[in-house]
Point group: C2
Chain length 332, copies 2
């Protein structure tokens, strides 16, 4: 077996208890013995057995993070934000990717719960009922990030309603009146529903009645973007389209160009998310940028400060980042 505090205690002529106190800088001890202990620990190549410590302390500082395997790259940003704060506040992150296969999901979450994590962060997860029940059964603190599940779980996300207003306002100001929404046509996930409603409300606020045919596609995939152009045909019936995820917008852009359209002249695009992907296209995409790192940060810090009540909703900022994918009708 590996080195334990007992080994150190023996070598130092002390008791395990003293070694434990010294190594954790907890309780009283003399600087002299502390120095000796640290030296011995170092020389022996000691590593604490955190599992044993957790067991003894009946609690852990491990936070489980559930990430969908088919995650868009914004998940990485959220994790980055978490990682940073976890380091500061001395938490450990147990990042777990979950499959779409429900049976695997269950097993994965089971093993997470077996680790006695003290909170679980769900990244952009639409929990199927079975998983959800499992999670509720266990008494761990849950936090939903970048998605909304129900009002029993605290939420950290962008204000999707506001976001749609920002986009529609931007397009309206540039002279657009015919605006499509691609990728949020369904009622689930709830985020899609909210965006859809925000889009409709924002149009209404400008005196525009929305055209239900122009809310199209429900998956956040590249293919959805491609298919959309195919579906509407050329010339397109609208002047602008909102892509409900960066990858959708890239699909829209490519398909439009492949169909001989010029972006932004024949089609303007505003993308939702604002990850690095939007900077890689030509033209560069105008986007509404979400603050994913902040979401990750807030998840941990608010957990730490225990400010997460059951139905808490924490919004992070969103802002329009200009690219070259929106035509300005005012200049013509």
């Amino acid at each position: 077996m590996a080195i334990t505090i007992k080994d150190i205690a023996n070598k130092a002529g002390l008791s395990p208890a003293s070694v434990s106190r010294i190594l954790n800088n907890h309780g009283r001890f003399s600087a002299e013995t502390a120095k000796k202990v640290h030296e011995i620990a170092e020389s022996l190549g000691y590593f604490k057995n955190q599992s044993a410590a957790d067991l003894s302390q009946k609690q852990s500082r491990v936070v489980g993070v559930l990430v969908p395997v088919a995650h868009t790259n914004f998940a990485d940003e959220i994790i980055k934000g978490m990682q940073h704060t976890a380091y500061e506040l001395n938490y450990e992150l147990l990042i777990t990717f979950i499959d779409t296969d429900e049976k695997k999901q269950i097993q994965t979450v089971q093993s997470l719960l077996s680790r006695k994590v003290f909170a679980i962060f769900m990244l952009a997860i639409d929990a199927p009922t079975a998983l959800f029940e499992l999670l509720n059964h266990a008494n761990v603190q849950l936090v939903s990030i970048s998605n909304q599940l129900n009002n029993k779980i605290p939420i950290i996300s962008s204000n999707n309603d506001l976001m749609m207003h920002q986009i529609v306002d931007h397009l309206y100001q540039k002279g657009h009146r015919k605006i499509a929404l691609i990728g949020s046509s369904e009622r689930y996930p709830i985020v899609a529903k909210i965006r859809r409603k925000g889009y409709i409300d924002a149009l209404a606020a400008k005196g525009i009645t929305y055209n239900p045919d122009w809310i199209w596609g429900f998956q956040n995939t590249y293919q959805t973007g491609l298919d959309a152009i195919q579906h509407f045909g050329t010339p397109l019936p609208f002047t602008a389209a909102i892509g409900s995820a960066d990858i959708i917008s890239v699909g829209l852009l490519n398909a439009a160009q492949d169909a001989g359209l010029v972006v932004p002249n024949d089609l303007s695009i505003v993308s939702v998310d604002g990850t690095e992907l939007t900077q890689l296209t030509r033209p560069i995409l105008t986007t509404i940028e979400q603050d994913f790192q902040m979401m990750g940060h807030l998840a941990l810090s608010s957990l730490h400060e225990k400010t997460l009540t059951e139905n808490a909703i924490i919004y992070t900022d969103t802002k329009i980042v200009l690219g070259d994918s929106v035509r300005d009708f005012n200049n013509y």
Copy 2:
């Protein structure tokens, strides 16, 4: 505290030992009592405390995975492959993102080692000396994936030398004689060195003496791709460039187009990696595709079968995937 096997034992009128055996399907017991135990466990909402089990068994089935925070998206593919096999073979993955800050790295790895993982997979990591020493000190099985560190750690990766031959051969066959290599100009990481050498050797095999000026850039970033075009100016002195990572190739493509060049007519590009990104560009990039999922799979399966000797090297296949970014001089 939460429910334990003791609670179940009490309620079932059994000993903890029996409950343990039943729940782990280990040893002998009657189907009847088993059924009862399972029912009670279910009704009580029992979750195994895996930390306690690990402690008792003096071993864990947890595999730590070190991923650079600035990871290219191929890391996701590798993880996906691992995840799949981990599920099959009943291992747990402890995925940890590591920072570039050395102090944070150390702390992160310390906490990994404190979890008594029984192996650590390093994804595309160029371990700085301090980290490396730490890792060596602990007696865990190390595996380097998609990178080469030294010959004391088993490696799972593409055959980078062969890969460069495949690319050069492809370009040569299409009539290219002036070929640049962007993004592998340095001696570290070792992968860069191997690619550089493979490139030189492959050219030599075709009777071409390489031009040292055409090996340029060392970071795997978008900016490197952009800068390369700027650096060489137009018209470019070569007809083809190999981007040593997809993101570099996208940079090359965009910068070339921004400079008024037409790809592939004025510049042909072959990208190394072949992730989804190469499908999102116009024209679509011709790439050499690495089998990242297989790397993840092999990491776990070979670990499981204990076939990893100290200096083992396992290569996964690479193959050219045709896009529209390579000009064929034979057709003119």
